[in-house]
Amino acid sequence: MIKASALYIVIIIALVIGLLCSSLIVAAYLYRIQYQKKFRQDQLENNISSGINILLNSTDTSFTREKTFSLFSNDMDSVFIQKIPWGVYDIGTIKAFAQRDTLFKSFSFANTIDSTKWAALYLIDEDRPFSLSGKTTIRGDAYIPKAGVQAAYIDNKAYEGDKRFIIGTKHNSERKLPSLDEKRLKQFEQYFTQANTGDSTLSKKDSLQNSFLRPTHVFNFKKTAKTIENIYISGNVTLFSDTTLTIDSTAVFKNIQVYARAIIVKSGFHGSCQLFATDSIRVEQNCELSYPSCLGVLRFKSPVVNFQAKVSMGKNVSFSGLIFTYDKMDSQLKPLIIADKNVKITGQVYSHGIVQLNDKSEIDGSVFTSRFWYKNSFTLFENYLINATINSKALSPYYLSSGLLPVSGKKKKVLQWLEAN
């Protein structure tokens, strides 16, 4: 005889078993979905990494236009690669996609240093010696004129540095500096000569950011002298001006590039950007431009009124990256780079003309120049260094150089990760 409640018990047991089974199915389903997601993520990351390696090893210009292709001619291995010339460096954008999933990365990249060409100092040979005075230190290999290096007594100061003068190997320099990369110079010439279209006014927002996955946001202020202030500008943004552009200390720039006739960076500015001018760049005191920054004055044609192209840095400026001047006409009035007292430059200085280092100026990296100037109240001394430091050993071993410079090696590496998801 079966109890009357047996059917209820059976139904309850069946319900419990049903619940257990459905939770088992749901757990297995969720686990599988998560696994597939992780598997696709790993595969996309591998593909992104492959894309980065392909871009860093490409020597041609095939990636200057965006290119989408299959890595191994299989499923789920499509990548999108693009290279954007960005001032003295390059920007790479890579996208890997499978089904609805997309991973992207954008980064700047640059060349490693060619140790066979690297030097703390390269001073061209103009048949005259190079003189040091005060507490001057030159650490690293140096290319100096055949006339050699000597101690000098200037401003009541005798030479107090190392007895070897140059702590490193000495080589004879040539009569001309090793040349800059022609392709990159042509690129700059195009930027300065072609008519660049773009917005003529900055938005009134307090920040402007543009991804490198989008087209470049160009602003062209034309002949209006503009002051950029109270704004944060970051990423894929280029500013053009046919006249003077002033950057106030209240503005923050990150990875953007600026092309103008003259640029004034106001005292106290902080940021990392690439500034290019045809006439002059003035960085006022206490500014900090972090790596990878660039200051470049380039002349591709003679100015209407002849005056000296100049990059000047005020007291206590801290700069990390590349400072260079270039004069296509090789005019008599050579471009000038001036570093005031307590200026610290980490990176490279390449001058087609003159470098003027003042008291306690320090360059942790290298200087390639045609001539040095030292000015006191009364006199100008040529090829004299007084109380200055040039130390190539103080430069980080991870420092990467622009392909523009003659010391850059063939190998390219990632300089800075900019965006990723």
Binding site: I13, A14, G18, L20, A28, F39, S50, N53, L56, D77
Partner: protein
């Protein structure tokens, strides 16, 4: 009694199917092993086509230049189990000289 037996029967069928179709630890292990081998290959400057046995798996490493670019190497890793069945594979383009 009949209902209980039928319910248990269906439950067992679901359980065995879920177990059969779920991911095997072996596959996950093989994929992790391939990732590790790839990392080692990226750091090494002398990668050659070879077959290595690690634990229960045999890993076949195929190395060839990528699209005639001397600076790039294509590495294709495949993991096989003891029954010589393909468990997982991984392909990547790496720098020839790290």
């Amino acid at each position: 009694m009949v209902i209980i037996v039928i319910v248990f029967g269906i439950a067992m069928m679901i359980y065995t199917n879920v177990l059969r179709l779920s991911l095997s630890v072996k596959k996950l292990k093989a994929q992790a092993l391939l990732q590790e081998t790839m990392l080692k290959a990226e750091l090494s400057s002398e990668n050659t086509t070879q077959s290595v046995t690690t634990g229960d798996f045999r890993i076949e490493q195929e190395v060839k230049p990528y699209q005639d670019n001397a600076g790039l190497t294509e590495i294709h890793l495949t993991a096989f189990d003891q029954n010589q069945q393909k468990i997982a594979e991984l392909q990547k383009v790496i720098n020839s000289k790290p």
